[in-house]
């Protein structure tokens, strides 16, 4: 071997996204009937930056009375304005919201990263553009519903109560609000308590867009606020994205009522690598599948199945790749993995990591320095995992991957389907016929082939079994907000 020259290490200097262009108020009230109103409870809670535990803003805690006000406003707007408006006019408002969001994309991205702990790379390149695209996409449908549902008479539902999670705060708000507005419904939306800020910024944009008062109302708060929406007698539709446990509570609460519902719940999705797969791209797909958004993704590819004859190679390559992931300040443009969304979630993740160790699975975590303050978890994989390990069954919702091996196609289909969940799956193989064989047999709402975690407004998303029901996105997403006669 030739003599090796002296090498120096080349590190990336911090490259922080600026925050001087964002405007955050110290205190946020509720957005009801086109106005900012103080909560009747008088209570506010703190929204903190999970990356450094600093206070970002105080946010109003809505109680039943506030929710009632919001629903009344939504009902009034529905009856008097929104349901009567010509669809083409509705579309113009939705387009306007989309354009205003685009204009302020950088501000949205930074606030999303501050509030949720997600990397600026992802909020800038994925969350915010996708959120805008959802508004653009559904704006296009508003005056074409008769083509979406040929030979049917399409009616809106009324007031939609929407409760969204903390993993994609703005994007989930867009997923919910855009189709509801396009189909002529009015909205009461509650963001998650740890991530209210971008929804409130969206409220500012909605205000600026001149959308008629009461068409979109944003009420912030905790679970009790959500319960008040679910239990409100004048809400026609509940759209929920979040945990399976809460989804079950909602199902029980609305049983016997005429409320329609769509639930997008948890997942423990299988990512399957065959021995003929393009191996380096598959490794990249594993990384995108589980470490995207710190693993806070309901469709995360958290159960990896690797064909046994290539398992050692895949794991070696995966470990190598993990070492080039930067964990740290979400606002640094070079950060690949940001902060865990909250202290509670970090505790949950750590609990599962401990369970995995206790179960005898072999743990590997990258050797990166974590910031002293804030909530961080290094990328983690477990090998030597069996289907019966708790960590392979329960949703961890963090950057933790379990790796199992398989030998035959039938075995991996059986194991992939052997879960109470069925949200998504990934298949990696060079063989087209094998892809089609698996996509027809995997019981999952989305099956990605030779890619993972790809989203588009035109493509429906939703689950099987305990991952929920109803579809969001695409033509199917309209269906959740209309009555067809």
């Amino acid at each position: 071997m030739a003599k090796q020259n002296k090498t120096e290490s080349w590190e990336y200097a911090p490259s922080l996204e600026g925050t001087s262009h964002i405007q955050l108020k110290k205190k946020y009230d509720l957005f009801i009937d086109g106005k900012w109103v103080k909560p009747t409870s008088g209570k506010y809670f703190s929204s903190i930056n999970p990356a450094n535990e600093e206070l970002l803003a105080e946010v109003a805690h809505a109680n039943e009375a506030d929710v009632d006000l919001a629903v009344k406003a939504a009902r009034k707007a529905y009856n008097n304005v929104w349901s009567k408006m010509a669809p083409l006019e509705r579309a113009k408002y939705i387009y306007r919201i989309a354009r205003l969001m685009q204009e302020r994309a950088r501000e949205f991205a930074v606030i999303e990263s501050l509030d949720a702990g997600k990397t600026i790379r992802e909020s800038r390149d994925i969350d915010v553009p996708l959120a805008c695209n959802h508004f653009f996409y559904y704006a296009g449908w508003a005056d074409k519903l008769e083509y979406a549902f040929p030979n049917r008479k399409v009616e809106s539902l009324g007031v939609a109560g929407q409760i969204i999670p903390w993993n994609f705060p703005l994007l989930m708000a867009a997923w919910k609000i855009a189709p509801a507005l396009a189909t002529g419904n009015t909205v009461v939306l509650k963001p998650a308590e740890t991530t209210s800020l971008t929804a409130l910024k969206l409220a500012e944009i909605i205000e600026e867009s001149g959308l008629p008062a009461g068409v979109v109302n944003i009420v912030t708060g905790y679970g009790d606020t959500g319960a008040a929406i679910v239990n409100h007698p004048d809400v026609n539709k509940i759209a929920f994205t979040g945990s399976t446990a809460v989804g079950k509570i909602i199902q029980k609460a609305i049983a016997g009522t005429t409320k329609k519902s769509t639930l997008e719940l948890g997942g423990k999705s299988a990512n399957i690598i065959f021995d003929d797969a393009p191996i380096d791209q598959a490794v990249e797909g594993i990384v995108n599948g589980i470490f995207f958004n710190q693993g806070h993704v309901c469709c995360a590819g958290s159960r990896l199945f690797v064909q046994e004859n290539i398992a050692d190679k895949v794991i070696r390559k995966l470990k190598q790749r993990m070492e080039s992931l930067y964990v740290g300040n979400p606002l640094d443009k070079n950060t690949d993995i940001g902060a865990i969304n909250s202290k509670e979630q970090l505790e949950t993740i750590n609990k599962y990591i401990q369970i995995g160790k206790n179960e005898g699975a072999e743990i590997y975590q990258t050797k990166c320095d974590l910031p002293k303050k804030g909530y961080y978890c290094p990328p983690t994989i477990f090998t030597n995992v069996a289907q019966s390990n708790i960590i392979a069954q329960e949703e961890i919702f963090g950057p933790v991957l379990t790796i199992q091996t398989f030998r035959t196609v039938d075995e991996v289909i059986q194991k992939a389907n052997n879960s109470p969940y069925g949200l998504a799956a990934g298949v990696w193989t060079d063989k087209g016929s094998r892809i089609f064989n698996l996509t027809t047999k995997l019981r999952a709402g989305v099956v990605w082939a030779n890619t993972y975690n790809k989203f588009d407004p035109t493509s429906p998303f939703g689950g099987y079994k305990e991952s929920g029901f109803g579809r969001e996105g695409g033509l199917h997403g309209l269906n959740a907000y209309v009555k067809l006669n």
């Binding site: 290490s9 598959a282 030779n450 890619t451």
Partner: protein, 302 residues
């Protein structure tokens, strides 16, 4: 050690082009600022193979380039020299006379560059001529026609024969990826070259477009990575053709760093084959020093 032949080298993995494009896009979002940028730019300068490969090359032209290679921008002290000059075999003696024992290496293309359409004896003679004239490095081209018609053994044996003819000179094997068309072919050709004895693998002659795209370089870096993991032996990489801006060069360094590691971040293991890159890098370096861009008239063309 058992002699290696094409028959017992590992099967090349398949490459998914869409996946490669996505991965490459990730490298391109890396933000290189301040001190990293300064350090990176100087590193780029030191990795350049300053190249002239034209039918109209003359001793005069080569002499001037050799001077430039050692004096990139004397107005700004502390800059490195380029790694090497890259010339046709007929110009090697001229370059050797100019560079004497300077640290700047002399690379010579050979094997009837750029087409490589000649019998093996001619290619060996071509190579030996360049080595005898003082070349430190030989940049050979593979027989793409043979490769595309599936004669992998031929390609393998030819590279092995040229490696032998190189003697002490390091061998860079040019795959001419623009003619290989698919990333699967790029990977296969990389594996053949590496196992046949290449010290370096190189993307292109610069005569065919597309040349050193990041997708192609990525694919070749992965081949080097896999070979290192299998054998512990390091292979060098030289993207050539089409890299004319500092930004693209820095993104290439990002790829090298994240795929192969810091050990490859020096001109013994990584080179840029380029003729116009140096001045763009110099402009950027002066910008980081002074805060303002200078006109291209302030940087010499040789």
């Amino acid at each position: 050690m058992e002699p290696i032949s094409f028959l017992n080298i590992p099967t090349s993995p398949s490459i998914d082009k869409v996946g490669v494009e996505e991965r490459v896009a990730r490298f391109q979002t890396r933000s290189i600022k301040n001190e990293s940028k300064r350090q990176g730019l100087k590193m780029v300068l030191s990795m350049i193979d300053l190249t002239t490969l034209e039918g109209k090359d003359t001793p005069g032209k080569v002499k001037q380039m050799c001077y430039k290679a050692q004096h990139l921008h004397d107005l700004h002290p502390g800059l490195p020299t380029v790694a090497a000059v890259c010339v046709y075999p007929s110009m090697v003696a001229v370059a050797r006379k100019e560079l004497k024992n300077a640290s700047v290496k002399i690379a010579s293309v050979s094997t009837v560059f750029p087409a490589g359409q000649a019998p093996l004896e001619v290619k060996i003679t071509d190579t030996k001529f360049a080595v005898d004239a003082g070349a430190d490095e030989i940049d050979m081209v593979i027989s793409r026609g043979k490769f595309l018609s599936g004669e992998y053994n031929f390609v393998f044996d030819e590279i092995a024969a040229i490696k032998e003819a190189c003697g002490k000179a390091r061998l860079k094997v040019i795959l001419e990826t623009g003619e290989l068309a698919t990333l699967d072919n790029v990977r296969k050709a990389s594996d053949i070259a590496i196992y046949a004895g290449a010290d370096f693998i190189k993307t292109s002659t610069g005569k065919i477009q597309p040349a050193a795209t990041m997708q192609v370089t990525y694919t070749m870096l992965m081949a080097i990575r896999d070979y290192f993991d299998e054998t512990g032996i390091m292979i060098g990489m030289k993207p050539a053709g089409g890299i004319s801006t500092s930004k693209l060069a820095l993104h290439n360094l990002v790829m090298v760093k994240e795929i192969l590691g810091d050990a490859w971040l020096n001109n013994h293991w990584f080179r840029f084959g380029a003729s116009s890159l140096a001045n763009d890098v110099l402009m950027q370096i002066m910008k980081t020093e002074t805060g303002v861009y200078q006109s291209s008239d302030y940087f010499t063309i040789d």
